[in-house]
Amino acid sequence: MKVTLEHYLVVGAILFSLGLYTAITRRNAIGILLGVELVLNAAALNFIAFDHYVAESHGPAGQVFALFIVALAASGAVVALAICLEVVRSHRGLAVDDLARLSR
């Protein structure tokens, strides 16, 4: 069986959907963060796939984007985890429902 672009895209879509589902359904901030990471990885996977199958002759633009996304996700995770630590310290928990009142 030859692995085609569609396969990658399906895996990416599954990853994206799982990430989205996780981000929507988790009440824990860390869980949401994990979902978001999945969504980002799905996008990075699509970039790699398109780079490989569609835009190979145009240089490694997709791969660069993927690396950027990795860096972005890492730095986002750092900030998010720092916030999480702070939230844990102040709220004794990481339930995002409890944080809703920050908007008032």
Partner: protein, 858 residues
Amino acid sequence: MPDFHGPIQHVTLAGTLWLMLCCPLAASLVCARWALASGSGRAATREAIAIVSIGAMALALAVSAYHGWVLGSLPESERFLLQHVWRLVRFGQLDASFDLALDPLSSTMTLVATGMGLPIFVFAASTMKDRGSPAAYARFFAWLNALVFATLLLVLADNFLLLLFGWEGVGLCSWGLVAFAWTDGASVSVGRRAFVVGRVSDALLVLGIALFYWVFGGGWAEGDYVPDLNARFSSVEVQEPGADSDDDAMAKAKDATSRAAVAEPADRDDEDAESARLPALKGDGLLTLTSYPGATVFMDDARTPMKGPDGQWLRSPFARLPVRAGYHSFRIHAGGGLDDFLVTHVAFGEGREIALSSFGPTVTFREARDQLALRDAHGVATARDSLLAKRGFGSVGLVTVASLLLFFGAAGKSAQIPLHVWLPDTTAAPAPASALLQTATAAIAGVYLVARLGFFFALSPAACTVVALVGAATALSAAVAALYQYDIMRILAYSTVSQLGMAMLAVGASGHAAGVFQLVAQACCKTCLILSAAALVHALPLAAQGEALARDVRRMGGLGRLLPGTARAYAVGCLAMTAAPIPGLVGFWSTNALLVRAFSARTLFVPGALLGGVALVVTALTSFYTWRTYYLAFDGESRGTLDGVREAEGAVPRVLAVLVGLCALAGVLGVSSRLLGRGGDSLLEEWLAPSLRGSESPSAAGGALREWGVVVAAYACAVGGFLLARAHYSGRQREDQWEARERRAPLFAAGRHGFWADAVYANALVALFVRTRDFAAEFDRHVIDGIVHATGILTRALAWLVGRVDDDVVDGAVRALSHGTVRVGERVRSAQTGRVQTYVYVIVLGILALALLQYWLR
């Protein structure tokens, strides 16, 4: 352009007339300086003030007499001294210079002013000594000198503008003297009134002058001023007066070949052809130019102006310059931005005097009179005819309007109804000032002006009639008023008004010489009377308590025994004034001349007999009231304490003696010249004739019988008045209740109050003025203030409106914006739920929506 001929005024140039003005002016300034310096220790003594003033006046009298003598030594037609001092104003067609002119009329006036001024000054120096401070003394003499200066300026003026300066000066000095006692409210108030009355007449005079000036240069047609006579020059052949009977004039005109033009000279050919026809001329002619002082003349295309005998450039005015025979043309360079005037083809020959005379609007008396007398080559008096033809205000002759304005201007100074009220007020002034005002200065100015303008008034019989009627009314009413006064000075003042009315009557009846004679006579006797009355009042012990008490004839009586000298002087004054049967005194002659004139007057509508009758009645009344004062004051029982009443010593009796002498001497003026083998007019009339040329109507052919009838009637009236006064008031026959009897006399109330002139003024004019003022105040309060208030209210309303707009609309908009922003913010904030999942939903849905949108739009 016709060439003119006629009897224009010969002019003799004089260089010293200004001295006459300088003396009183200098004395006035010096005295004023001393009056101002009174507090500073540099004040002069009374003696110094008196010496300066009297010296100046004596000098002025001497100069005046000298010029009178110069004038008399000239041939009759040349009796006109002219001195150009400086150029005053020259713009457009108006040319007026500071020119002094002395002709027999003004010479008479200067002699009256200075001749009466000198004794009055001496009297004042002596009697004012013990009144007031040296400063007041200096101030008094400063005003007196200024008054004489202004009067001399007035009578010496050659034109209206200069006359106006003198005229206003006299008005100012009248105020200064009447209100001399400036700490006394009543005196200040009457002084102010004299000034205001003067201003009213001055305004009329100025209007008259303006009309006089305009009417010479044009007229009004359909409401617009149409100039028809521009200033220009013409050559005029000077003729002796009287030589212009029409036939003669025609013959001469045919003979005369000179021709004048202001326009460009005609073509050369034309000129040659004409000059070929001209007869040859022999001998030197004479050239005269008096217009546009300072102008130079270029003769016959010369490059340089004509030169006089002294080698200098000739400047106007010059007279009788020899010019060689032949035809000459002249270019007159007046300067001052005016175009040169051109006069061509002027023929000079043996014994012909040619004047380059200006035509058109003028303010100079002499030029105006000359213009009216001139006739052109056809014997037509162009200027005169065109002047008479000018109409305005419908069909009233402009000459009449101008004459009437000038007359009512003059009436203010000569105290004619209705502007006479100021003269009785002059009694508030110290007696010498009052005498000077009444006899020698202010009061004579009006009659002088009318006499001076006789040639102009003669053109308008209607104006002459008004003059005569106003004079008659004034004479009669003032004489009645004088009957019932108790203040001796007021009696004399009303008498002055009455006498001035008589003079005006004579002037209106074209008897200018008689009118002037009346002035001279009145000056002599009234000065004598006022000064002796002043001496009398001064001598009374009551004078210490108050002038008004001392002047009351009811408190006098029997003073003749105590003050015989004064009584004699007063009696002579009375005799002289009342046309007394002593022919040596002046009043006899003047009254007779006046009566003859009045009876033979030819005025419109008013018969001469009426004017003559009024004059006779006034003569009788004059005699009555004059003798009444004499008898009340000097005859009968003494009243009150008369201890210490003593004849004044020193200068006063001498002054009175001199005045008595003058009263007698002036009578000489009335002597018929027939005694000297001449015409038969009185000496004064003969002397004044050159000044009054063109103004006298030919004396009526009444004949000797009529004259004698008038003389007898006047005599009878005077004697009748005297006898009546004697019967009522002389010491032996006076009733005790004479005051009560007077009160029952007819017209007592009217006469006592001067025909309520003051009341009429107070109730009519002043009340009108006050009412107008009140109306103006009400108007101001209600209308003007209302407008102001309304504006204020309106402004406030507007401000409120603007405030509301600012508060509600502008601020409202801002507030609404902020509120809206806040509310939108509130709304939008509710989207911020704070639930992360919600955000994710929204993001996902948004992306889906965008994707769908993109899908559909593709």
